[in-house]
Amino acid sequence: MIEGKLYDGVTAHPHDVRVSVEDGRLALAQDGGWNDSVEAALLKRRDAPTGMLRLGRSDLPGWRLMLPAAAEADLAGLLGAHDRYGRWIDRIGLVPALVVGGVITASVVAIGYLAPHWIAPHVPMSWERNVGSAIVGDFGEIRCRDARGQRALEALVERVSPGATRGPDAIKVAALNVPIFNAAALPGGYIVVFRPAITETNPDALAGVLAHEIGHVRHRHVTEALIREFGIGALIRLFAGGVGANAEQIVSLSYTRDNEAEADTDAIAELRRANVSPKPTADLFTHLSKITGEERGYTAEFLESHPLSGKRARAFTASFDPKAHYQPALSRDQWDALSDICWKRPIKK
């Protein structure tokens, strides 16, 4: 006989009960003559302070039986195992769960990082064009629409990548009247150049920047980034909450460091083919790295989506051939037209 207290789940009033085990069932009795017995399968351990054993019933939500902790030995046959980490973890055990989970987590992150790179080249260009025209549109008022400037901008693209602005997969280049120094490749073969990237540079440096963005388009890096962002990035963000923020950052960077390096290699090759000096591009990167503050240490660099401009500048500098007879990327007239692209009155369509 074990003395205990019982809540019946109907009122908060505690009843004194005596408990024993009879024929594999839990028998309860009270002084007034009331008695009851409970099937072992219905009993479940509940949380209790130290020194107490608390049992519940799966069929009666508020039913609780409180016994001294020592009673556990007497009831051992009736009670199942402790609920520890949650059933799915308990079933395989903590250590196996950690090992299996660790391997799965590492693979998911690795696949999330690599898969977009494998899938992207197989996504039909027409899909990317559809997504691109849905998202990008015509840029409305922020696009600089001067016709001569636009011709010069397209000529610069043709200069570094002949034939790029023609055909079904044509690169569509646009200057935007946005006061930030930047250029970007967008889904569907769009390349946008922001105003300061034209007005605060020179034709050769802009050629290098455009060649780099063309590299992103050609290698399907944009598609890759889209898959990464909406695939694995969304998934991790969904479940991982705060803990996964770092993991998410690693997999959902707009472009990976490999992408950037690949686009740089392309740009260097195209500048050489076009006989345009890589020096101004190198100077531009050196200048940018001074603005943004260079050498943030290895960890910071690892997490950066863009390799440090200083390192990139060295790659462009190294490709400079002092014996070559480089030609300017654009004629004087073309560059003047391009420089004014955002200032001329827009041509009505």
Binding site: D47, A48, G62, G86, L94, G137, D138, G140, E141, G241
Partner: protein
Amino acid sequence: MDRHHEWAAAGDDRAIRFTGNWREYLPIAATNALLIICTLGIYRFWATARQRRYLWSRTQVIDDTLEWTGTGKEMFIGFLIVIAVLAPFFLFIQFLFPALLARGKLDAAGGVFFLFEIALIYLGGFARFRATRYRLSRTWWHGIRGGSDDPGWNFGGEYLGRYALVFMTMFIMFPWATTRLWNSRWNAMSFGPLKFHADLNAEGLKWRWALIYAAPVVALILAFGVIAALGLSYGVKQGPNPTLGGAVLAIILLIYLAIPLATLHWYAKFFRNAANATRLGELEFGFDASTWDWLKLFLGNLGLAIITLGFGLTYWGYRNWAFMVRHSRIYGSVDLGDLTQSTTHAPREAEGFADAFDIGAI
């Protein structure tokens, strides 16, 4: 016959006590952290359930502990339900917004953004209500649980309306809005057959709120005074003035700290007043944490996380709960015979909405 009379407010006879200790909690904290990392974060629902089960079972109220019956599985499923409902909406916005921007339709994009923000505020209020309701429905004492029969849709509307007023008055109306919302939320809650009754008002909270506006101004005036005093007593020929530099730095830090400290000062009083203004049947509540107590809690949390290189983060929930319980008071009596089972519906989406909107707390 079952009346528990007039529980004293001090010593071991306190009607509400926290009996846990950090060594006992360590295995839970450590395995939770490991499992969360090894499951891409999915385990966090089960981790929350384990944490609460421990904390509730170490919270003694009068003569028995609380019990948490919420499970990781139900929180996980609740989260999935909410995501299934909200994901299409979010995805649509994620495409629509840049598409409008890229077409130069700035007004339309602004309009979409505005509507989106309104929906977020409404759902944020709704989530807060549902989280309170869920937590009460999974909290048991003497075999009885709490809950609410109000689904919380109207509360979301009230929350949106009051916050609209708060934004329009540059937050001047904030104390009124929060106190009214506290009342609306708690007046809809119950434990067993007993209704919570909250009657909080902004009386006594206005001056501390005004202090938040005054703090940066006062700090700035102080700053000019100090700089002027230091600058005048120092000759220009002597070169750069190290004391002045230090003073400027200290003052900049002070201005940055003034607003958060003044806000904390306000919240400390808000929680004391709120507990005093809330009753459950014949039970009355109290809360005695001062601004300094809160500051010690936050600095302690921060220090612990830094010293333990991040592992201390796993103790924040524990420390916050222990803090709340240690500063809580319960007065009055409860008739155990009259405290019958709750008839409220328990929500099935658990804390999915609160999770989706990152309204965490413990």
